[in-house]
Amino acid sequence: MPTSPLRLAAFALAVVVALAVAVPVPAQDARVEAARKEGKVVWYTSLVLPSAERVAKLFETAYPGIKVEVHRTGSERILQRVMQELQANIRNADVIHTSDAGHFVLLKGKNLLMKHAPAGVDPFPAGFKDKDGYYYGLRATLNVIAYNTKAVVAAEAPKSWKELLDPKWKGKLVTAHPGYSGVIATHVLALSHLHGWDYFKQLAQNRVMIKQSAADPSVVVASGERVVAVNGGEYTAYKAKKKGNPIEIVYPREGVPLVVSPTAITAFAPHPNAAKLFTDFTFTRDVQQFLADSEGLYTGHPDVKYPADKPKLSDLKLLTVDPEELEKRNEEIKKKFVEAFGA
């Protein structure tokens, strides 16, 4: 029994220290336990399939017993799925992650999102945070031009969006689709601000091949089926280049559309605890660094280091779009694109 005041004080200190150290642990355990009881988290994601499966594996390794069910498709298809399912009263998605920030404005407006701030997002730049705290930018990429180095020498490659209008590229271009990809929907809006809708009408004169996913143009260019990609996610082009494909990236001088891809937990999440645990996990420095290293993405995390061969965002002229505007003009963007390109 402690009797002297000193011993008593020492004992009290020990208890306080023990509590200070121990308290967060049971809290963490309780969260993990609750998530484990739910058993899985259903992730509707537009992150390209191999990358999404890798993130899922990382989580499953860190938290054995909780499965990540990856449902990967284009951003616009994800919104279609969520809305169609709700119409039939299906509540399936826990976490929604797309590259069309407008979706989150829409979903928040319909009270379909849960308010949840992932741990550690405070120091993220403002562009990665919803002011009301419903959604946060998990990753970012750029829209770039990519060309096949076997077919075009660097000196002749297009340096700007406008140069793509040159008739010498007729039949040699490929685009992705804003009706599928949020990266491209963002791109189309950003470029319409820069060069007007006529830009796309003129671009269509060059008989551009139309693909769906923003990941696909770099695949098409790498295969040699088309020479230049007129848009597409920089991270997939970067990865294709890293794999040894004959592909080079151009960051156009008029400005590079920046696409911040938010993530949010649904208000109706069937596995809310697992959803929170998974969301927090994806915002940890380790995962954010993984996205940068292995997937070629940018993130909002201030401590993340980027590969030396990636340009610094601060060195580029970035074009950003307002999520509210993206939401309001969603239908118009798709309609005008289809009018210009035919499908």
Binding site: Y44, E69, I90, E225
Partner: protein, 553 residues
């Protein structure tokens, strides 16, 4: 007559749930708006220039597919049925392979073969000729017509080969004896006798092309044009225009109904006693020096439909980059590891597909067997109407059926969207005519005399059914099972509208991967699908003890 009552109530219920209710909803949806009843959606569909163009594209595609299918199918049928061309078994086997190849896999393979720049054939062509221009550009309307036709011509082939096999040579001989030359015989005797089969094959091919979704989505969309089916699909994209999708489905439904009615009339009028008879001899025409060139021509067609596409699929499955040459540094098993071990959707999709395939085929085979037995033995009043109903779903193209089911089953009282049940209903409805056709032929081939003999000897109807009819009908029922199963595992046009993330099937996963440009994984899943198909075909061959395509006795 409670027996009749049971059959009738069953048939009526099935009809309501499978067809009547969905089609009624489709019709209602096509004229409804928030402001009340409207014809605005139809006005939009027929006057919007882009939509009018997609209607026209569909007409062009279907018509040319019909013609090209005849141009390929008719000579092939004649060669194998009436000449001594070598390798007949091989040719028939390959026609069958083309028949069961999912058309969207063919379209996907042809992208890799005949993309204007990276396509293998065009690379070879440039290498050999030094030309700057591609030999073929598959992302064009003619390219699309070609790819659809090489998987559609078997319909023409089957119709004509089976007719030719039944026409005796006597009439042709008579004409020859009377002094007619070979061409005159062909023009005045043979052609008129096979003409109904040709027209009928043409109509079947046109119907196939009208209803197809995968091939236009893969080849027409990159080229910037739509067909009705891809347009219907894009109306589901956010923000959805389900009413417009319903309205644009109507011309497709109407065209199908009219074409089928035409075909029935044409076949119904066919009054040539020589066709269908068993008498006479069928002598094969000696091709002489033309034997080998004729075989080569057949093999050239098969190279387009089978050898080249399957080859490039296999290559893509084992390659790091499909467009790069085969070699050790391009060889990999990574596509297989990714598809089976890393990609979470694969296993669920394969399980869903097999589950739906087995359940639909089992329920379907029993259902069509009962229906065919009832109609053939005329067990109930109005058996002709039962037969008509079993065939009726044939007028509904898959994507139209899907739109109708989507509208009907996303709202109370029956919310089936999001379950495998809605896919089951779609598949069962879609495959019923095929299965019924097979079962009908089976029971027609079993003379009632045997059953009567059993009854006279004192067996009850059930005992007769068990001891006489069932054993005789067994192989035919197994064949119906397999036809339905094959139809289900390759189904895309209805599935693409009705799937949810938890009810994805293989075809939908392949289409998903296609949109993302994951060639390796598509090739792997495509090969799995082909393997499943061919194993099933092999089972039919064994069960029937004959060639699946033929109706020869």
């Amino acid at each position: 007559m409670d027996r009749a009552l049971v059959v009738w109530v069953g048939a009526a219920l099935a009809l309501v749930f499978l067809m009547a209710m969905p089609l009624a909803w489709l019709t209602v949806m096509s004229v409804s708006s928030e402001a009340g009843t409207t014809l605005g959606h139809y006005r939009y569909v027929f006057t919007d220039p882009a939509l009018a163009k997609s209607l026209w594209n569909t007409v062009v595609l279907a018509f040319w597919v019909g013609l090209v299918s005849i141009a390929i199918g008719a000579p092939l049928a004649w060669l194998t049925a009436r000449t001594d061309v070598p390798g007949q078994g091989l040719i028939r086997g390959l026609v069958l392979a083309s028949f069961v190849t999912p058309p969207f896999l063919g379209a996907f393979a042809w992208e890799m073969l005949a993309g204007p720049n990276a396509g293998l054939l065009n690379k070879v062509w440039r290498g050999v000729t030094g030309s700057d221009h591609p030999l073929v550009n598959i992302y064009t309307m003619p390219g699309l017509i070609f790819v659809v036709a090489i998987y559609t011509f078997p319909y023409v082939y089957i119709m004509i080969a089976n007719t030719l096999a039944l026409i005796a040579s006597d009439l042709e001989d008579a004409a020859s004896i009377l002094g007619a030359g070979r061409l005159t015989v062909a023009r005045t005797i043979t052609l008129p006798m096979v003409l109904p089969a040709i027209v009928s094959g043409f109509i079947l091919s046109v119907l196939q092309a009208l209803a197809l979704f995968g091939s236009p989505a893969i080849l027409a969309l990159p080229a910037g044009f739509h067909t009705i089916t891809t347009q219907v699909w894009s109306f589901f994209h956010f923000p959805p225009k389900i009413e417009a999708a319903a309205a644009i489905s109507m011309p497709l439904l109407g065209a199908t109904a009219v074409l089928l009615w035409l075909q029935k009339r044409l076949l119904g009028r066919r009054g040539y006693a020589a066709v269908g008879g068993k008498g006479g001899t069928r002598r094969r025409i000696a091709l002489g020096a033309w034997r080998v060139p004729a075989l080569l021509a057949c093999l050239a067609v098969m190279a387009c439909a089978i050898f080249l596409p399957y080859g490039i699929l296999a290559k893509a499955a084992f390659s790091r980059a499909w467009a790069q040459p085969v070699g050790w540094d391009n060889l990999t098993l990574a596509n297989f590891t990714f598809t089976f071990f890393e990609y979470g959707a694969t296993r669920a999709a394969i399980v869903n597909t097999l589950e739906l395939g087995v359940i639909t085929a089992s329920v379907g085979a029993v259902l069509v067997a009962v229906l065919a037995y009832v109609t053939n033995r005329r067990l109930v009043v109005g058996h002709q109407i039962v037969a008509f109903l079993a065939f009726a779903p044939v007028v509904i193209p898959g994507i139209v059926l899907a739109v109708a089911l989507f509208i009907a089953y996303t709202r109370p009282p029956f919310v089936l969207y999001g379950t495998l049940a809605i896919l089951f209903i779609a598949y069962l409805t879609k495959e019923m005519p095929v299965g019924y056709g097979q079962s009908d032929a089976t029971f027609r081939g079993i003379p009632p005399d045997l059953e009567d003999a059993g009854r006279i000897l004192g067996a009850g109807r059930l005992r007769v059914l068990r001891d006489i009819t069932a054993p005789l009908a067994k192989s035919g029922i197994i064949a119906a099972w397999c036809f339905i199963f094959i139809g289900v595992i390759r189904e895309l046009s209805a599935s693409i509208i009705l799937f949810t993330p938890n009810t994805k099937v293989m075809s939908v996963v392949i289409f998903d991967l296609k949109e993302e440009g994951q060639f390796g994984a598509i090739a792997v899943l495509g090969l799995v699908m082909l393997a499943l198909t061919f194993v099933t075909v092999a089972i039919v061959q064994r069960a029937l003890g004959r060639d699946v395509l033929g109706a020869r006795e």
